[in-house]
Symmetry: D2
Subunit: 355 residues, 4 copies
């Protein structure tokens, strides 16, 4: 109940700090008989790994995952998967100067007030480094969803004030922004580099599309499909908002504009973003997440120390100047965990009815 | 696990359909010794009740709550509160013509695909009428929060394309829009009535402000304060998005613009909306919810029947032309449940440290 | 989290006190499409009802259940079942003399120390009357299990020092002891009446047998089949122990005596009681529960009042002189809830493999 | 939801197989500020470690625990504790001959029917080796309880037909039986060695006593103190029964014999074993667990292979001839986890009232 577990049937628990000995996870509820190896996990961790471009933190981590349990002769056994990743390049010395200061835009102050102490080395447990465990678990969920024909794609739609005009899924993994429009990606990179040079950072928008969902996924009332996804996505550090389909734009539409009519072949539009009344419609699931600009910046900022004195702070450290490309990977992982969990819940209901 | 329960320490389970015999709830985990009577609950239910203005459904329901357990000599005993509200004005006949048709913008199609059958009378369990149980439970949470000095205010900030310019909290309960700006409320009402006259409906934005929260509320990683609130608010029918503080606008800011500096006296701005890294900052908690236009409209729409044929549908029934004023009441209730639950979790952690 | 909910997929929440307005429950996670009516519930409640023989409490309660939701046209819809039973014959006056005294053998003292106040009328929430909600929910679970060919039979094996020699299942519902041996039942009744006449009460042993379980039911490690059943059965007031198969007798056996060998046709013995390593073997599930003598007795006892003074107490009220016959009904209900829940969990795992 | 997690506020998840790469756990919900180091955990693991006497498995495991997270400068931070223990002496070759045979008295057959495949090396996840993770987590719970003055002592009361006559707590850790009576321990050892020499094994009874509990611990209805303990203890492999206080003996008592009277100073007897109505009384908590004889024996047994053929099986491997001494350590750990969890739940209720 300390906040580090997620899911109902497919149940994830995670541990680990930015500068501790190791990070890891337990994923329980994985059905027996899935072909799975460490490389399935590693592949996704490598997508999330820092140090891969001038636009991500230069911290050097190989992030090698050890898959410790739940596998026998190359298949899952139905027992929990335990995984561990040891930290390598944890330069705690970098954090001596913030030891006693609350970094603006970070969890520092609130955590200190909550716990009475804090692990100041890179944010400790509140660091984005914890998302490594989410991505590892998400890799398993993605593989399970793959068997169902469900494909999740998250990408940077907007960053530093530049939006993508085109949507070319094949482009996403080719540029460091993880943007589906090469030209926009280049512009974003320029702007972000300019901001970095000034000691500043950029925000943006991550979009997620899911194809292959049947109608009928989700649960009534409190555990709606969009409600669970909202929790999952807002639990990612730096995300400040989420919207489905038309989202905030629906506020200015009328019912006749926003409703999605149907005919014999299905829905004629998808203003809803693939979810109505908390249950999937069978259309493409579509949502957008607002990502704030990276809080750790080199520009001097006014803040407070733990004695309550006003102080100035310039953050050295090694930070991504824009979180979007890595948030996109984590959004995919969390979405996969949520969706597979709903499929398993539906199985507990007897599966989808034939009608 | 069927989706109808919510919360961890303060645990709510609800039941009931729009046109069934009764709706009700069990709220467990309420501390012993709280002064509580049926009137505390009734007061909030009356705020949510239909039939109160031309802008809400004319369905006549007294929504009298019976508080059946958990109270002895005017105080809570620590045992679960059971509450029941019998339906009075359930004209199921109104729904004969939609019996076999999927209403656009509603959960009908997804529910049919999920369960293989559906209670077509007013949407059954997927009706907004289920929020009655949320409001009843929220009344208890609000009373518990009142003892802590926490005050929650939700209101219609925008509807039918009109935004409030002023923020006068005293105005909110005086107009049927529940808007904090009398003038804007009058304009909204005019537009909505015009839309109604054309058989159409309006969307809008509900905002919520919470004063009196200490820093340190929320849990790490998955159970962040904003993540839980996002789930709570997105679980309300008709809500399609949520954002905290700057929200989607933060996507276009830089770190130096968006970070909230501090000095000896506290935070100098509140772009974060009172939550950083999933933990409250001690500033005002602020979020906005996107509310779609009411799906049930009188204008004829194209849809499908359960045999898969294309059909036309004009919905009679009795519906709110704009959901915002009632969503605001439900947002308050859900916010109260989430916040009190976090306070109780913090108590399990030993309370807030003295530092 | 206040203790009044049970189950994972099939999730029960209950409310209500012995002398409050009503008792009730919400059962969520029931699959759609089950034929169900109030009479299915009522039938089981009638088996549990007081006032049916000289050996049960003379309190007159009709215990009429209202099934308020989750049913449409005679079938479950997949939405939660809400049920309520109003109290009729609640003579709170009977409890004036114990208002301030802690009844020996009851929860009174512990509850007062836990909650700081107590509803003294018949024990309030700690009364055995709460089991009414368990039996109502269990009726649904039994019906679901019936479709799977699973049959649960619980009965009084021993009471007031008399054991059953014969096992005639057809006899169980014919005598007030719910014993499968008519002769033993008559002897038990005599002894219990003699104890009653002296103002005293009797304990006993309830046994439970389940036929029709497949091998493979249960979950590893913490959620073993026998562990969940142990929790379920020990949660019934008055139960002080449980044992599976040989149980405590196994302590004195050797491995070669206690192991159940197999051949082509299956197990050759069932010392295990149908569960090994927490998973069902496919043999008859068998366990025994120790039931203490009713705590409320007319004989004067030494106790304490809430001012800490030593006082004498003779309990009038209306109480069962031996709890076994009613505990048996509740054991069946709890066992049904546990087993159906495990079946649904197995469905979430993809059902039983074909091998 | 795969069975490998336990607890509500203090939440444990575990992973690992007998012959896999490693075992481990995540313990979340631990309050910040507890002095804790690896040696606190190691101390308890060493008590459980095999290879320490002729009466325990000769498998050589150092069972060195790595504490990977949740600690900063020697204190818990409020973040989850991650721990890992690598397997060293995993001779999977020992299991080639059982690869295809279901061992009598083991989970083999049920697991195969549940999962469709099985890790036959030492029972995989169903091996008693998983209790290592319980003991590591229990070490933390014990330390938390130590701050509250609560002391848990579990020991072998009976083994191979010999009961302890004396109760000398100081003796428990001095003999390999973990029995509180040196003389009885010597007799037990003789008998067990004789059984071993014949290729057989012994059962026994483990008792547990808890001093220092306040009255008022536990939760109403389903989450009773004894119900949770029953689940916890029955989840330990080899345990077939549990009883509190008089337990099964209470079945033959009358109310006047079994009730515990009170006077000004407190309870005058403790037939209840320290728990009434699921809530602690403040007296010594006392329960007994029935431990079956070790299932793995060298004597040839009749069983079945996965093709359904009758076969003979003699189990080589390395096994404890009597489980009691190690079960006692695990009982302490599980009891500690249950009790500390209830204390934290009570804190969420506002702590114990002053009355």
């Amino acid at each position: 109940m300390g906040g580090s577990s997620f899911g109902r049937i497919l149940r994830l628990a995670t541990f680990g700090e930015s500068h501790g000995r190791a990070l890891g996870l337990i994923l329980d509820g994985v059905p027996a008989g899935l072909d799975l190896g460490g490389e399935d996990i590693q592949k996704e961790l490598d997508r999330r790994r820092p140090g891969q471009s001038p636009l991500s933190s230069p911290r050097q981590e190989t992030d090698r995952v050890e898959l410790c349990s739940g596998i026998f002769e190359g298949k899952t056994t139905g027992a929990p998967l335990g995984m561990i990743v040891y930290n390598q390049d944890a330069r705690s010395g970098d954090y001596e100067n913030i030891k006693d200061k609350f970094r603006p835009g970070h969890a520092d102050y609130g955590w200190f007030k909550k716990f009475g102490l804090r692990d100041y080395r890179g944010g400790g447990r509140s660091s984005g480094r914890e998302t490594l465990a989410r991505v590892a678990a998400g890799a398993v969920a993605k593989k399970l969803l793959g068997r169902r024909g469900v494909v999740i794609t998250a990408y940077t739609q907007r960053a530093a004030g530049i939006s993508c005009g085109a949507f070319d899924p094949g482009e996403i993994e080719k540029n460091p922004l993880r943007a589906p429009d090469a030209q926009a990606a280049a512009l974003m990179a320029d702007r972000i580099e300019a901001l970095m040079a000034r000691g500043d950072s950029a925000g943006g928008i991550v979009e997620c599309r899911v194809r292959g969902l049947p109608p009928g996924l989700g649960e009534p009332v409190f555990d709606k499909l969009d409600a669970q996804l909202a929790k999952a996505v807002l639990s990612i550090g730096g995300v400040k908002g989420i919207e489905f389909g038309e989202g905030f734009a629906a506020a200015d539409l009328t019912g006749s504009q926003n409703n999605d009519p149907m005919d014999e072949k299905g829905f004629l539009s998808n203003h809803a973003g693939g979810v109505l009344g908390g249950i999937s419609t069978g259309g493409e699931l579509f949502f957008r997440a607002a990502v704030k600009p990276t809080a750790s910046i080199a520009l001097p900022q006014t803040t407070r120390d733990s004695q309550g004195r006003k102080v100035s702070l310039a953050i050295a450290g090694r930070h991504d100047p824009c979180l979007c490309p890595r948030v996109a990977v984590v959004v995919e992982a969390m979405t996969a965990l949520v969706l597979e969990d709903f499929f398993l819940l539906q199985a507990a209901r007897g599966g989808f009815p034939q009608n």
